[in-house]
């Protein structure tokens, strides 16, 4: 079978975390709000109303462009993108065209074990549209409503060059993008809630020297669906080519349920958006000193931090990757290290127990009650064998939910310290004395009997002993008793 060369370009929209909309004073916290409660004449496109730029939106867009290593243009211009749709109350979207915020950037990330660079074509800022509602809210049948709460929320659009060559790369790029916009506080990057949206241009070619026909894939609502949709679309195009057909340049919608892309009909004609500079808004000069100020606010970005973690703390690429994906996790990790400089140990606890608890509770680390101090306290106690690993995990769970220091939780739960191995030896001997039958069974070769004895010790210590230690103590006693 012939080799095919896959080329993918991604266009990602992220809602910017501004308090108010891009061109009016309406709030942006629209999730869960009743329709059309966060609206005003400006974002509803009422005749006579005029836009006034929210400078915070521009600042966050510049910050995003800087994070993606773009050149910042000295002047940004807002253009009108003209088209008719009910969710677009002015009949045009205020967007950017030939003078976007930033151009010619790049981003690097790890994918399948190697570092990859994707060039960024442009970063621009624009306003979001409203949302059509097709059912509920007392709508009569066969009718739709429009909710304008979302309309006018600032979006940053990040467009790649066609540098991505597999669904895996696309996914890893998106993971990095999401991580970055969250690091810099530009967006919460929540794809399921629609604050991050991704469209893809996909083409497949039998030759590495020329690009195939480009197909735009839309309507992917999660990282997983981007991955699946790209996979599907690549296979579809390959099949078309293998069967001697031609790929048609078109827009296709991803159908999550059917697991396939479907041609969006009625869009055969290329739309002409008739871009022109919005005469209601003046071009904005971007001063180099303002860009410098914004640049100063950029935190260490995920990739740099990952690489630093690898060298400074001797973590593997994958460990460092997981720890640095979310800024709060990475900050938490480093806060722990400031109090207890054992990166390997803290890393293990973070990657297993801490992330597990966060996942189970489905919260962010900032939402949990745990503090770096209390985690370190716990790890130290285990390290000194003052408590067993099992007990520590129980205590940790409690820390996530109700917070508090290790000793407080132990007092609350009635857990005491196993301070010495002497004490444990005594309990182990007691277990052996009380269960002669099991001892006999074990000595006659029944391994299971040992587990019973371990269970007995654990019971007697109310689970506070470390099973491994108990096992070795029992073995020692049993062999000495022979």
């Amino acid at each position: 079978m012939a080799d095919f060369y896959v080329t993918i370009g991604l266009e990602v929209h992220c809602q910017l975390l501004t308090r108010t909309k891009m061109f009016c004073q309406c709030g942006t916290d629209y999730i869960g709000k009743a329709p059309n409660t966060l609206v005003c004449p400006v974002c509803m496109g009422i005749p006579g109303s005029l836009p006034v730029l929210n400078e915070k939106a521009l600042e966050l867009a510049i910050k995003t462009a800087l994070a993606f290593r773009c050149e910042i243009l000295p002047q940004v211009v807002f253009h009108r993108k003209n088209y008719f749709y009910p969710d677009l109350p002015k009949g045009y979207q205020i967007s950017q065209y030939n003078f976007p915020v930033g151009v010619n950037g790049f981003v690097e990330f790890f994918t399948q074990g190697t570092k990859k660079r994707v060039r960024i074509k442009r970063v621009h800022v624009e306003e979001d549209a409203g949302k059509l509602i097709h059912e509920g809210l007392g709508l009569p049948p066969n009718s739709s409503g429009v909710d304008f709460n979302r309309c006018g929320i600032p979006l940053v659009e990040i467009v790649t060059e066609p540098d991505i060559h597999s669904p895996e790369e696309a996914r890893d790029y998106l993971v990095m993008l999401r991580s970055m916009v969250r690091y810099i506080g530009a967006s919460d990057g929540n794809m399921e809630e629609g604050s991050l949206r991704c469209d893809a241009n996909v083409s497949v070619s039998p030759s590495p020297l020329e690009l195939g026909t480009k197909v735009e894939v839309k309507n992917m609502n999660s990282f997983r669906s981007v991955f699946r949709a790209l996979h599907y679309e690549i296979e579809r195009q390959k099949r078309v080519l293998l069967e001697g057909g031609m790929v048609i340049q078109e827009t296709r919608h991803w159908d999550e349920r059917e697991g396939m892309t479907v041609s969006a009909r009625g869009k055969e004609e290329a739309e002409d958006y008739r871009y022109f500079p919005d005469p209601d808004l003046l071009p904005v000069a971007i001063k180099p000193e303002d860009v410098e100020e914004i640049e100063k606010t950029l935190p260490e970005l995920p990739l740099e931090r990952r690489e630093r973690f690898m060298t400074e703390y001797e973590l593997t690429e994958s460990e460092a990757g997981i720890l640095t994906q979310e800024k709060d996790i990475a900050d938490f990790f480093e806060a722990c290290l400031r109090e207890f400089r054992k990166p390997r140990l803290v890393c293990n606890w973070m990657l297993t127990e801490v992330l597990k608890n966060l996942n189970e509770l489905n919260i962010d680390i900032m939402q949990s009650k745990i503090t770096p101090g209390s985690l370190v306290e716990l790890i130290k106690m285990v390290d000194k064998k003052e408590i067993s690993g099992t007990i520590a995990k129980d205590i940790l769970e409690e820390m996530f939910v109700s917070g508090g220091k290790v000793k407080e939780i132990m007092a609350r739960k009635g857990i005491s310290f196993i301070t010495s191995e002497k004490e444990l030896e005594r309990i182990a001997r007691e277990a052996i004395e009380k269960n002669p039958q099991s001892v006999a069974d074990y000595l006659s070769g029944k391994e299971k009997a040992l587990h019973f004895l371990i269970g007995q010790v654990m019971k007697m210590t109310r689970g506070q002993a470390d099973p491994e230690t108990v096992k070795s103590l029992l073995l020692k006693e049993l062999s000495s008793g022979e």
Partner: protein
């Protein structure tokens, strides 16, 4: 008391205020006099699209109850007619279009807020060419307004309703809007005063957009002094309009004294006295220029070489912006909706039924010139010509303080005379469009009559030089000692 409106013929706001201050009339009585006048003559003139009688009476009564401060707010108790493309909370704002026949503005335009704060009473909304596209008010979806000087003739446009209402003393003050001459040309046709301010001098927030880079709200009055007062009230920066200049409101302190005016230099652009202009108009303007010379002002000939292309460029740039600005009238949120079986059909039917011929013409024109492949040849080129036009004025105004020109090349024409020929209609704005493209201020004042029809004189100044423009206008008004218009209208039977 019964008020004889004839005595108001030469009144200025200060005269009304003197009556009010002396308690000779109440605000309510003043309002009633104008409402009565509207009632008796507007059936023929049709300057108003809607009246705010109830709201105005309530407001007048409130103003009468409020103890007026020692110093009256500048427009205390003064009725104002507002062009129907300026949003007035709770009142219809139709823009003279069927597509907004039922639209009630949910908010006040910044200029309307300022009027109200200054004590004015919004008496009603005045007729206009649909979306301010036209020069005769014949493009109103609700029928034309007639010229009070001759009911067979047009009042000019697009602010024809405001101009006619002033001329017939249905209101002492009015707001218009000027995109390519829509304040000055009707002011000229109706013998009243109308200022197009420097672009950015008055907030556009709440002025329904036709061509955003050209639209300006303009004050209109029966005399220059009232026009100045109204301009002082409505001008100044506005945080709601990014294109509004960050300057404080205009102040009459900036108007040069008469003796300073006499020392100033008048530019006469030769292109504005070409063969296309009615001879009687040229003659009258030249008489006025002679008078100025006699009064000691130096008059110099200047040239604005791109005058011809300005009109052409305007008809590229303005429709392009309009095609986008008028996209929002789609039947979804407000205004007319004609149902269809698909979304596309609903859009088509709504816009087909809602817009008039001239508006459709300009939407198509503008859509075309913004289309990919044509953008560079049309829109971009139009913008380049615009820069040349601006430079013409910059250069000319370095040689003089202001320019004096006719407002219109012709007298008010008959209704229907030019409706079949859009280009003829467009020519009516040939002397007002270039300065609009340049963004500079211009005023139209009456300078005489020929066969009972008024002749308008235009004074143009540099950006933010309204003070000089007003200075010369006041000087001329005094020298010409023309009385404010009071065309005698046949009483309604």
């Amino acid at each position: 008391m019964a008020i004889d409106l004839f005595q108001f013929r030469e009144f200025r706001i200060r005269d009304y205020h003197a009556l009010l201050r002396r308690g000779e009339i109440s605000v309510e009585e003043l309002l009633e006099a104008f409402l009565q006048r509207i009632g008796s003559v507007d059936g023929q003139i049709r300057a108003f699209l809607s009246l705010n009688e109830e709201g105005a009476r309530i407001r007048a009564q409130k103003l009468d109850r409020d103890i007026p401060p020692d110093e009256f707010p500048p427009l205390w108790g003064i009725p104002v007619g507002v062009k129907d493309n300026i949003c007035t909370e709770g009142l219809p704002t139709t823009c003279g279009s069927r597509i907004l026949y039922n639209f009630i503005a949910p908010y006040d335009a910044t200029v309307v807020e300022k009027l109200k704060r200054a004590g004015a009473i919004i008496v009603g909304k005045t007729n206009m060419d649909e979306f301010a596209m036209g020069s005769s008010t014949e493009n109103s979806a609700f029928g034309p307004t007639r010229n009070p000087f001759d009911l067979r003739r047009v009042p000019g446009g697009s602010s024809g309703g405001s101009a006619a209402a002033l001329a017939s003393l249905e209101t002492p003050l009015a707001l218009g809007s000027d995109t390519g001459g829509s304040v000055r040309q009707p002011a000229s046709f109706c013998g009243v005063v109308g200022l197009r301010p420097t672009y950015g001098r008055v907030s556009r927030y709440g002025l329904v957009s036709f061509a955003s880079s050209l639209d300006q709200v303009g004050p209109m009055a029966r005399n220059v002094e009232d026009c100045i007062t109204l301009f002082e009230v409505i001008s100044g920066s506005d945080g709601k309009d990014s294109t509004c200049a960050p300057y404080p409101p205009f102040s009459r302190q900036d108007i040069p004294k008469e003796e300073e005016i006499r020392k100033m230099k008048v530019g006469i652009p030769r292109e504005y006295f070409s063969s296309g202009v009615d001879e009687a108009i040229v003659r009258r303007i030249e008489e006025v220029l002679d008078l100025l010379r006699r009064e000691g002002l130096e008059c110099v000939e200047v040239s604005l070489p791109h005058t011809d292309c300005a009109l052409e460029a305007y008809y590229i740039v303005a429709p392009a912006e309009a095609s986008s600005n008028l996209a929002r009238y789609d039947g979804v949120l407000y205004g007319l909706r004609e149902e269809g079986s698909t979304l596309q059909e609903m859009y088509c039917r709504t816009r087909t039924a809602g817009f008039g011929k001239e508006v459709k013409r300009r939407i198509i024109l503008g859509t075309y010139s913004l289309s990919s492949g044509y953008y560079d040849d049309y829109y971009l080129k139009g913008m380049k010509v615009r820069t040349l036009v601006r430079k013409d004025f910059e250069e000319a105004l370095q040689k003089c303080h202001f320019l004096v020109t006719p407002v219109s090349p012709c007298f008010p024409f008959f209704l229907g005379e030019r409706t079949q020929s859009p280009y003829e209609m467009y020519l009516a704005d040939v002397f007002t469009i270039p300065s609009a493209m340049a963004g500079i201020p211009g005023i139209s004042i009456n300078c005489g009559y020929e066969n009972g029809l008024p002749i308008g004189l235009q004074i143009l100044g540099g950006p933010f030089r309204e003070g000089w423009v007003f200075g010369l206008a006041l000087f001329l008004e005094k020298m010409l000692s023309l009385s404010s218009p009071f065309p005698l209208l046949p009483e309604r039977s």
